[in-house]
């Protein structure tokens, strides 16, 4: 099984690449697997890491800080108080509204390989005892693309958070729209935005955490609408793909283009947070937003 894993991953390994210690490398787009073996090789620096060790470091490379991609349930486990998660709307799944060729089989394949029913997992739990709603997009599921089912699940958790007035923490990861659903996919940007407008008017905290990669329609809607936007080091966050832009403007773009750090410098994210500090940072945020006000009794 171990050998299988390495064989499978070899296609994508970037061997012999030297990595600067200070810089946090950006993962290559989408094709990467999520670590589940006994030993993992860091894609950025080639360091071999025991699975246990990797887990201890919240799935980041202890050598170069490369952030491995994690699946939705691992992310939830890293974020919420142990045993507090209750999944909601797990049965919302995609259909094939346009009769798009081979979409069903693609969905089936994604479901089988990920063990998920759709590209986002949503629910409720607590962080340091404070109740929160949580949504995690899983980059493995058809590149974390947003179709009607993902849009519906995210909208429902936004409505739920608004109704019970609990902060919503949304981990974004998406290659963009789900082409197989055409304009209906585009309209998930609109649907989630009208839900967020209500949440905004009801003054409920919405935090987005940008994980690798967050692009296209997701970046141009809810990912950018957090009251507070955190981003993981090295995560790509932008509208159009780097290659598309380079072809359009016929210029080479800087290496750090669209990284979390680039976005921080350009005013688009509030803070770049290492995954090992993320839970604590989210804890501080929800505590500040659930603290008693100045007029309340002591």
């Amino acid at each position: 099984m171990l050998r299988d894993l390495f064989n499978k991953r070899r296609h994508y390994a970037t061997l012999g690449k030297t990595v600067e210690r200070e810089k946090v490398p950006t993962p290559d787009p989408v094709e990467k697997d999520i670590p589940k073996g006994l030993v993992e090789k860091c894609d950025a620096c080639g360091n071999l890491i025991m699975g246990k060790e990797l887990q201890k470091h919240a799935y980041t490379c202890p050598e170069c800080n490369f952030h491995f991609r994690v699946d939705a349930y691992t992310r939830i486990a890293l974020t919420l108080d142990e045993g507090s998660f209750v999944e909601l709307n797990g049965d919302v799944t995609s259909t094939n509204p346009l009769g798009f060729p081979d979409y069903e089989s693609k969905l089936e394949k994604a479901q089988k390989s990920t063990g998920l029913t759709e590209g986002a997992v949503t629910g409720e739990g607590t962080i340091d005892g404070v109740p929160v709603a949580i949504a995690v997009m899983d980059p493995r599921f058809i590149m974390g693309s947003m179709g009607s089912a993902v849009g519906e699940k995210l909208t429902r958790i936004m409505e739920r958070a608004t109704e019970v007035r609990e902060p919503l923490i949304l981990f974004t990861a998406s290659g963009g729209a789900r082409m197989q659903e055409g304009i209906l996919s585009l309209m998930q940007m609109a649907k989630t935005s009208v839900a967020l407008r209500r949440m905004h008017d009801e003054q409920v905290l919405f935090v987005t955490v940008i994980t690798h990669p967050t692009t296209g329609g997701v970046s141009a809607s809810f990912a950018s609408l957090g009251d507070i936007i955190f981003a993981e080091p090295g995560a790509m966050f932008g509208f159009a793909g780097k290659r598309v832009i380079e072809q359009t403007i016929r210029q080479k773009l800087p290496d750090d283009f669209q990284t979390a750090e680039f976005n921080l410098k350009h005013g688009m994210v509030d803070k770049v947070v290492h995954r090992k500090q993320l839970r604590d940072a989210l804890g501080v945020l929800v505590r500040i937003h659930s603290a008693r006000g100045w007029a309340d009794a002591e």
Binding site: H200, H266, G267, M268, D270, L285, I288, W294
Partner: protein
């Protein structure tokens, strides 16, 4: 260590003399304690004399001393928890203005302020605390966020002025400051500000329409920096001390003119002599002030805010 100012030299010379004398005593086994006591008394008198009769220009120099607490120092000292938030969501994160959310005494606040550097390298990064439009827009974003979640806003003012440069003009320095004035007037949460060092004109006011304005003892706040005023008035920037005197820019002047609500005492010789004590004083004032303001219905607070700024200015009608 904060650098020494010209008018403080006699003090440090006397201090050194006392140290020398003590060393001499020890080394030679002599008892000169009477002389030491006499000199120490003299030092106390001279210290009082120096700091009780500071000229406006000397105060300006103290306000500019490195080693005074900066906004981030105040934040660190007053908050039990704090997360700095970055960016204007438009163009850039401006390091000349910092801000974020935190807890003071267990209560939520948004804190925003100008940020000067501690050394040359940091000052270059911070642009010497002179903000670009995106700095003011970040501040506004955080103010609106505070309003949304109903938490008060505390602002620290310490800037020589908004950055005068081409980049700032291209992105609308005037618009950014103007927008903040408009929005601060209507912000539906209690707001307080502290002029902690330099209150340089519009760049300072861009964070300064608040329910309470506190000015530190040696801070200055004016329509223009004394050097620039001298250059305009007398075509001679070396006349800055003269300009400082006539323009009434010191803390006590500001209270007398009704610009500031209260003068916040500084440690002897200035905040830079005992930053921790300064931060503690400011923390107490924040808690006292926000507790008081929180008792008022927000519409009453907005009316008072309106009346306060509506009444600024002096004129006669004939």
């Amino acid at each position: 260590m904060p650098s020494e100012l010209e008018f403080e030299k006699p003090l440090s010379e006397l201090k050194n003399k006392i140290q020398e004398l003590k060393g001499f005593m020890e080394k030679n086994g002599l008892d000169l304690s009477g002389e030491v006591r006499r000199l120490e008394e003299h030092l106390d008198e001279l210290t009082e004399e120096t700091y009780n009769h500071l000229s406006a220009w000397q105060r300006v120099q103290i306000a500019r001393q490195p080693g005074r607490p900066t906004t981030l120092d105040y934040i660190k000292g007053v908050c039990t928890e704090f997360i700095e938030l970055h960016g204007d969501r438009n163009f850039r994160d401006d390091p000349s203005i910092v801000g974020g959310v935190g807890l003071i005494d267990g209560k939520p606040v948004t804190i925003i302020g100008h940020q000067k550097g501690r050394d040359t390298k940091e000052n270059i990064h911070r642009n010497f605390g002179m903000a670009h439009p995106e700095g003011y827009r970040k501040a506004l974003r955080l103010m609106k966020q505070a309003e949304k979640f109903g938490r008060p806003v505390v602002m620290f003012i310490d800037t020589a002025g908004a950055y005068p440069g081409m980049s700032a003009e291209e992105r609308g320095q005037s618009e950014a400051i103007a927008r903040n004035l408009l929005e601060m007037a209507g912000l539906r949460v209690p707001t307080i500000s502290f002029v902690t060092g330099e209150g340089g004109s519009g760049g300072a006011l861009g964070l300064g329409i608040t329910d309470r304005v506190y000015v530190l003892q040696y801070a200055w706040y004016s329509v223009i920096a004394p050097e620039s005023a001298a250059a305009i008035l007398w075509k001679d920037s070396t006349q800055a001390s003269r300009a400082a005197e006539v323009m009434r820019i010191t803390g006590p002047d500001l209270v007398e003119l009704g610009i500031a609500d209260e003068l916040i005492p500084e440690p002897k010789g200035g905040a830079q002599k005992d930053p921790a004590a300064m931060v503690a004083t400011v923390r107490e004032k924040i808690i006292e002030s926000l507790r008081e303001l929180a008792k008022k219905p927000i519409d009453e607070l907005l009316t008072e805010r309106y009346d306060k700024y509506r009444d600024m200015g002096e004129y006669v009608e004939r």
